[in-house]
């Protein structure tokens, strides 16, 4: 009954739908499990792997949050989106369109984004308290904006994970869709960048939805910072998230107005421009740090 008493249109109605979807996401067991795993592993890493120079390879750790929170958000958001389909005939008679409901579902990305933000904050605080080796790629050896951009990839990837889940739920109706999307995302992300990492064209790997900027420790104790502009890449990921929402809304034929098509074209153009900007600015070549003797294995 609460949904029927909701304003049929306008900001207030949309805000009410967004709050409902954000709450459903925050309570979803798969999402909660992913958040718990992400933080437990970060804690284990800080406690178990801390060596005498401080926290090793801190700039690779946003991957943990993006993997556990982001990928579980894909599953949870896809299930939230599909969950309303059982009542699609009843919902279709209610005020509002599918596109509007999809826009409300996009708010399911808020809890993953906040969880990713807390994860990144916890990482920065832990590193500040424990410290890092002076040669480590971090504040001091890199410009602050680059470090912040790489660290903030985690919450943006978590947000994008949820938005990809909404897109998946809207378009793919077979039961295994979230599983296949998760596996495909991992495989594409790996194969899209691994062959390029050691080449002089490594910046063109940045089309993938999760590009790495830091290799971890090399065998000689050095670390490699991969080429590209992380701030532009961060914005590119935001554009991909916006495209996911628009793609999900596109499922509703009534939403495909000329204005909406123009918006989609504009976001596609922005995403392409940001990708080119990410690949052509920032660090033009891979950079190798000074070696950290205690980490050398050969």
């Amino acid at each position: 009954m609460s949904s029927l008493s909701m304003p049929a249109s306008g900001i207030a109605g949309h805000r009410a739908m967004a709050v409902i979807e954000a709450r459903r996401m925050a309570r979803h067991p798969v999402f909660v499990l992913g958040v718990a795993l992400g933080f437990v592993l970060l804690g284990l890493y800080v406690v178990l792997v801390d060596d005498k120079t401080g926290i090793p390879v801190a700039l690779t750790l946003p991957l943990l949050g993006a993997f556990y929170i982001g990928l579980t958000s894909v599953i949870a958001a896809a299930r939230l989106t599909r969950s309303t389909e059982v009542a699609v005939e009843a919902v279709a008679t209610a005020p509002g369109t599918e596109a509007r409901r999809t826009l409300g579902l996009a708010a399911a990305g808020i809890p993953p984004f906040l969880a990713g933000l807390v994860f990144s904050g916890a990482l920065v605080v832990a590193v500040k308290e424990i410290g890092v080796a002076p040669q480590e790629w971090w504040f001091g050896t890199l410009p602050d904006w680059q470090v912040w951009s790489i660290v903030l990839l985690c919450p943006v990837a978590c947000l994008d994970g949820a938005l990809l889940g909404v897109l998946t739920g809207r378009w793919l109706r077979f039961r295994g869709a979230p599983a296949m999307v998760v596996v495909a995302l991992i495989v594409v992300t790996l194969l899209g960048q691994a062959p390029l990492l050691e080449t002089s064209s490594s910046e063109w790997r940045l089309w993938v939805p999760w590009a790495i900027f830091h290799t971890g420790d090399n065998a000689d104790g050095t670390q490699t910072l991969i080429a590209g502009n992380p701030a532009a890449y961060l914005c590119y990921l935001l554009a991909l998230g916006a495209l996911a929402v628009l793609g999900a809304m596109w499922h509703d034929r009534t939403a495909r107005t000329p204005r909406f098509r123009t918006l989609v074209a504009a976001v596609v153009a922005a995403a392409l421009a940001l990708f080119v900007l990410a690949a052509t600015t920032g660090n033009h070549d891979n950079r190798v740090s000074d070696p950290i003797p205690s980490r050398a294995t050969s």
Partner: protein
């Protein structure tokens, strides 16, 4: 025998099972093309096979068929046989070793067999609890869980659960533990009756 095949042909969610197997086949081709990335592609292939096993017990009309005269136990036992489809695919891929990846075959057969057994057993247990389509949730969660240990290997000094060249004893012990857990879950799930 004919009743069994008739039931399996019509009752199993073949689109989901074979779709996931198709994903595994595509991943096997990718592995043949990029054998250097086997550290992630081989677990991804396993994830697809495990996801296929998760759909074996999907049955929309479960509340109806669970109380048919033939009985829920007959249904659950026969459906477990469908898990042989992803299991066979896994066995074939490990035997063929796409891209000449030097997989230690006995270890990788154990690894795949134990995972598929645990996943199919978990789906059977959910089915026993009258969950009509356990695969819808189990498949994506299992796919993610299978690939997740790859992230540990890069960060911690625990070693990998998916060793490519040689299969150390501690890793074998872990997978034997998974196999025993899978067998135990299957035993619980296949007991006669509807609920624990």
């Amino acid at each position: 025998m004919s009743a069994r095949f008739w039931y399996l042909r019509r009752g199993v969610a073949w689109h989901s099972v074979l779709g996931a197997c198709g994903g595994a086949t595509i991943t096997a081709f990718l592995l043949a093309r990029w054998p250097d990335d086997a550290f992630l592609l081989a677990p991804a292939l396993l994830a697809c096979c495990a996801a296929a096993a998760a759909f074996v017990y999907d049955e929309d009309a479960l509340p109806v068929v669970a109380v048919t005269p033939r009985g829920a136990s007959w249904r659950r036992v026969n459906r477990l046989g469908v898990a042989l489809v992803p299991l066979s695919l896994w066995a074939v891929v490990v035997s063929v070793r796409p891209g000449h990846v030097s997989l230690a075959q006995p270890g990788w057969w154990l690894l795949g067999g134990s995972t598929v057994l645990l996943v199919a057993g978990s789906a059977a247990l959910a089915s026993r609890r009258l969950v009509p389509t356990p695969g819808a949730l189990l498949a994506p969660v299992v796919a993610l869980a299978v690939v997740a240990p790859v992230t540990f290997a890069g960060l911690f000094s625990w070693g990998t659960l998916y060793p490519i060249d040689d299969f150390p004893d501690p890793v074998r012990t872990v997978w034997l533990g998974v196999a025993v857990s899978g067998a135990a879950v299957c035993a619980v799930a296949l007991r006669p009756g509807l609920r624990p």
